[in-house]
Structure formats: structure tokens, C-alpha cells
């Protein structure tokens, strides 16, 4: 059945206004978003031109963007990205698996949960970058040094999320599985795993960002191959344009990793309420 047509003047005005609002909501984000980016670039240009910082240290946006695209033709550029991503991936996988295993182990026992509380609360806030000098001495500018930093930082994030997840198992559901005489494996598969998964994925998503930051920091300071090291080198060579272009690259990489992590989360948790609710009915 069709909705009755608006009859009074006020109703017509209301409908027209709503349509206008719709159109604005459609184009607004695009137009204003582009305007925001342009405003940023113009501010940068003006600041580089008239600001107190010399041209030598703050190049114009056009130069940086040009260099950013020119980099795509360089093998060394792709090698640096490859090195950063490889360390990132290895570190993320190691810390996710370790965090999950240890988290499930500790989380399934009340005794272990209480006994490990102090140790975890002390080890967790140690910023893993504090280990950079030790890693640098012990391993030198090697992948292992970078991995140590990444894994220490991300392990606790995944671990804590996993602990939350295990603790979140519904008590009534748990007792139901007991009544149904489910085996340990069935309970793990049908009760604990689905409860745990969203928390674990949150941990992995957070870790994906943290791993990139830690990896690049390690490269910057220890000098393991990767984007961070290229930036440090560009700074030493007095090549600010190259440096800024690499930083833009790091930002782009950050966005890609962010999007990929969110997409992975959505894919794995397609059945979960938090994801289903996003789909318009």
C-alpha cells in the first residue's frame, strides 16, 4: 500500500526539507572531505612559503607528493616496504598465537587468573620500546631485534583481550552445556570459541596498528631494514623531500593495515551482533 500523499503545506515543506537533507547527507561528506584535504594542503603550502621554517626543512606539498609517486618506480622503496610488512606480519602472527594460547590457558582456571594478576599488571605497562637498546645489543640490526619489540608489545594486548573473552562466557549457557553433557571439545567449539572470537579479533586489530608503530620505531632506532630506517637515512642525508614522502607512505600503509584489519574482523565475525547491526535492515 502506498503512503498517503502529503496534503498540507507544512507537510510538503517537511518532505522537501527531508529530501534536501538526504541529498546533503549524500554529497556532504565527499565535498567537505575533499575541501578538508585541500585546506590542509593549502595551509601546508602557505606555512612552507611564509612560515618561520626554512624551505630546506619543510618542502612544498607538490614536491612531496611528486616524490611519493616517483618512489613507486624504485626497487629499494619496495624492498623497504616489504621488509616492514614482513616483520609486521611475523610479529603479529607470533604474538596473536602466543596471546591466544596463554590467554585460554590462564583464563580457563580461576586459580591461574588470580595468581598471574600481579605479574601481568607489572609486565604489561613496560613500554616494549624500552627493550630496543637491549635488542639492539643482543641481535644487532636484525629481524630478530625488531620481532622482539613487536611481539612483546602485541602479546599482552592479545592476551588481555583473550582473558576478557574467556571471562565473558555466559554462566547459564555454560551450565546448559553441562546439562547437555557436552564433551570438553564440544564446549570449547560451541561455547568458548564463539564467545572468545570477537575479543580476540579486537586484540588482533589493535595489535595490527601497534605492531606497525613498534616495527617502524625499531627500524628508526636500531636500523633494521624497512621504512623507519629509510626515514632515518633520508634525515641523515639531508633529503627532507624523500623523508616527507616516506612518512606519507607510512601513513598510507597505516590506513591500508587499518582497513585490512577491519575487513578481516568483519569477515570472521559476520555472524556476530556487532557486525550484523551495521547492515541496514
Amino acid at each position: 500500500m502506498l503512503a498517503p500523499l502529503p496534503v498540507t503545506g507544512t507537510q510538503v515543506i517537511r518532505v522537501v526539507k527531508a529530501m534536501r537533507r538526504d541529498r546533503r547527507a549524500q554529497w556532504g561528506p565527499v565535498v567537505l572531505g575533499v575541501a578538508g584535504v585541500v585546506a590542509f594542503l593549502v595551509t601546508w603550502q602557505l606555512y612552507a612559503e611564509f612560515g618561520p621554517v626554512s624551505d630546506e626543512f619543510l618542502p612544498y606539498p607538490a614536491q612531496v607528493i611528486g616524490q611519493f609517486f616517483a618512489n613507486f618506480a624504485l626497487t629499494s622503496f619496495w624492498a623497504a616496504i616489504g621488509a616492514t610488512l614482513w616483520a609486521w606480519l611475523l610479529g603479529l602472527v607470533i604474538s596473536s598465537v602466543a596471546g591466544l594460547v596463554v590467554g585460554v590457558l590462564i583464563g580457563s582456571s580461576r586459580f591461574l587468573r588470580r595468581a598471574t594478576f600481579t605479574v601481568l599488571e607489572f609486565l604489561r605497562p613496560i613500554p616494549s620500546v624500552a627493550l630496543i637498546p637491549i635488542a639492539a645489543l643482543a641481535f644487532g640490526p636484525q629481524l630478530e631485534a625488531e620481532l622482539l619489540i613487536i611481539v612483546y608489545g602485541c602479546f599482552f594486548v592479545v592476551l588481555i583481550q583473550t582473558l576478557y573473552g574467556v571471562a565473558d562466557v555466559d554462566k547459564i549457557a555454560y551450565e546448559t552445556t553441562l546439562t547437555m553433557r557436552m564433551t570438553w571439545l564440544q564446549r570449547a567449539r560451541h561455547l568458548v570459541f564463539p564467545t572468545l572470537l570477537p575479543y580476540f579479533m579486537t586484540g588482533v586489530r589493535l595489535s595490527a596498528t601497534i605492531a606497525l608503530i613498534l616495527g617502524i620505531s625499531a627500524e628508526l632506532i636500531i636500523g633494521t631494514d624497512g621504512l623507519g630506517q629509510s626515514v632515518a637515512q633520508a634525515q641523515l642525508n639531508g633529503a627532507p623531500v624523500a623523508m616527507y614522502a616516506l612518512i606519507v607512505t607510512a601513513g598510507a600503509l597505516g590506513i591500508v593495515i587499518n582497513l585490512a584489519a577491519r575487513a578481516a574482523e568483519r569477515k570472521v565475525l559476520f555472524w556476530h551482533e556487532s557486525i550484523r547491526a551495521e547492515v541496514p535492515a
Partner: protein
């Protein structure tokens, strides 16, 4: 009895671990493996002497200053961006990009643009800590209780009053969550910025030890940063308890129903 039991849970594993650690490192071990007794001695001699004033205090001072700046800045920007749809559309793509830049990579740039000084080190921390506060504030402002928001509108509460009495308190749980995230980020950036370039600070001292291959001293720095991290989160928990008293009460009341 319960107190004893709790104490056992609190201290049991740490004591066991330290004893095991002590016994395991009695023989010859790699120089990179720390030993409990030398570590403790170094911790006392390195960090509890003159270095407290010359390095620990400046480091923490920069960290706290940067946290304060990024909280104020993040909340102010977040309230504006969260309140106006146009501001959100305008800033979103640029914010998404700037936030994605790993903040430590900005250190070489700030070194060039600002120079080698405390302003640069504080700016590095602000650049990293701003995002959690800003994004959480935006979310908090956008998810204000609708009934409260409409009630305020009906009563003609607007402008500064609205911000002060409705928006800020309503968003405060989200804001506090953002500040807690930025604590961890800030500690990381504090250390890295000092390792890269500094005249004083915890990170600088640790790097100096690295150059002298003074491994136990380096480990004592790691221990110190752990203590600082624990203390910071404990202090923050207290502050949060005070600021969000009404919210915790509200939640407890809702749970009772």
C-alpha cells in the same frame, strides 16, 4: 584468612618467579640475561640517586605536560567535531590519514622543523596522544543520551551551558577511555623521543648505557619504566574513579534492576 589468601595470590607467583629466576641465573649465563640481585642494586644506584632529579623528573614532566595538552586539545576539538556534522565531514578524511601515521616516524621531521629541544620532545608525545582522546571524544559526543539531549533542548540549554552541563559530562566515560589509551602511547613516545635525541631523560640514559654495553644498567631502566607504567595507571585509576563516580553509580544501579 581472606587477607592472607589474597596476599598469597598477589605475591605468590612473583616470589616464585623471582626465586626461579635467581636460581636459574646462578651459573654462567649470557651477559644479556639480567640477574635479580645485580639488577636491584643497579636499580637503586642508578635511578634512586641524583638521576631522579636530572633525568627521571624531566622525562615525567614532559610526559605529563604532553598528556595535559593533548587531553585539552583533544577534548576541545572533539566537542566541536562531534557536535557539528559539517565539521565531521570536513575533517574526517584528513584525520583518518594523520592518525594512521605511526607517530614515532614524525620524530625526524620534528627534529628538523622544531629543533633539538624539549618543545620537540613534548610535541612528539602530543602528536601521538591526541588521537585516542580526540576520536573517543567525538564518539562520546555523538552517542550522547538522546533523551537528555532533547530535554536540554526543550529547556533551552544551549551554547556554553550545554557543553559544560550536558556534552562534557555525557562524553566523560569515552574521554577517560581515550586518556587511558594515550597513557600507554605517551610512555612509548617519551622513551623513543629521548632515545633519538635528547640531553636528559630516562630514554637517553638507557641509550648511554647501550653505548657502554652496560647491560644490567639497561635492564634497570626497563624495570624503572615498568614501575612508572604501573604507577601511572594506578594514579589514573584513582582519577577516573573520582571523575566517573556518577557513571559507576549509574551503572551499578542499572545492574541492580
Amino acid at each position: 584468612m581472606t587477607i592472607l589468601k589474597n596476599l598469597g595470590y598477589w605475591l605468590g607467583l612473583p616470589i616464585v618467579l623471582i626465586v626461579v629466576w635467581y636460581l636459574a641465573t646462578l651459573g654462567d649465563v649470557s651477559i644479556f640475561v639480567p640477574r635479580p640481585l645485580p639488577l636491584w642494586e643497579k636499580f637503586v644506584s642508578v635511578w634512586l640517586g641524583d638521576n631522579i632529579l636530572s633525568d627521571v623528573v624531566p622525562s615525567l614532566g614532559r610526559l605529563l605536560l604532553a598528556l595535559a595538552i593533548s587531553t585539552v586539545l583533544g577534548v576541545a576539538l572533539g566537542v566541536v567535531i562531534g557536535s557539528f556534522r559539517a565539521a565531521r565531514w570536513f575533517s574526517e578524511p584528513m584525520l583518518e590519514f594523520l592518525r594512521a601515521i605511526p607517530s614515532t616516524i614524525m620524530i625526524p621531521v620534528l627534529l628538523l622543523v622544531i629543533g633539538l629541544n624539549d618543545t620537540m620532545r613534548t610535541t612528539v608525545i602530543v602528536l601521538g596522544c591526541l588521537w585516542p582522546v580526540l576520536l573517543n571524544t567525538i564518539t562520546g559526543v555523538r552517542s550522547l543520551d538522546e533523551v537528555l539531549s532533547n530535554t536540554a533542548k526543550v529547556y533551552g540549554v544551549r551554547g556554553w551551558n550545554r557543553v559544560w552541563h550536558l556534552v562534557l559530562p555525557g562524553a566523560s566515560p569515552a574521554i577517560m577511555a581515550g586518556v587511558r589509551q594515550s597513557l600507554a602511547v605517551g610512555l612509548i613516545l617519551m622513551v623513543v623521543s629521548e632515545m633519538f635525541a635528547s640531553a636528559n631523560g630516562i630514554g637517553t640514559l638507557i641509550t648511554n648505557f647501550q653505548n657502554r654495553v652496560a647491560v644490567p644498567e639497561m635492564w634497570s631502566g626497563v624495570l624503572l619504566l615498568g614501575v612508572v607504567g604501573v604507577l601511572l595507571s594506578a594514579i589514573f585509576a584513582l582519577v577516573q574513579k573520582g571523575v566517573l563516580k556518577w557513571y559507576d553509580g549509574l551503572k551499578a544501579a542499572a545492574d541492580d534492576n
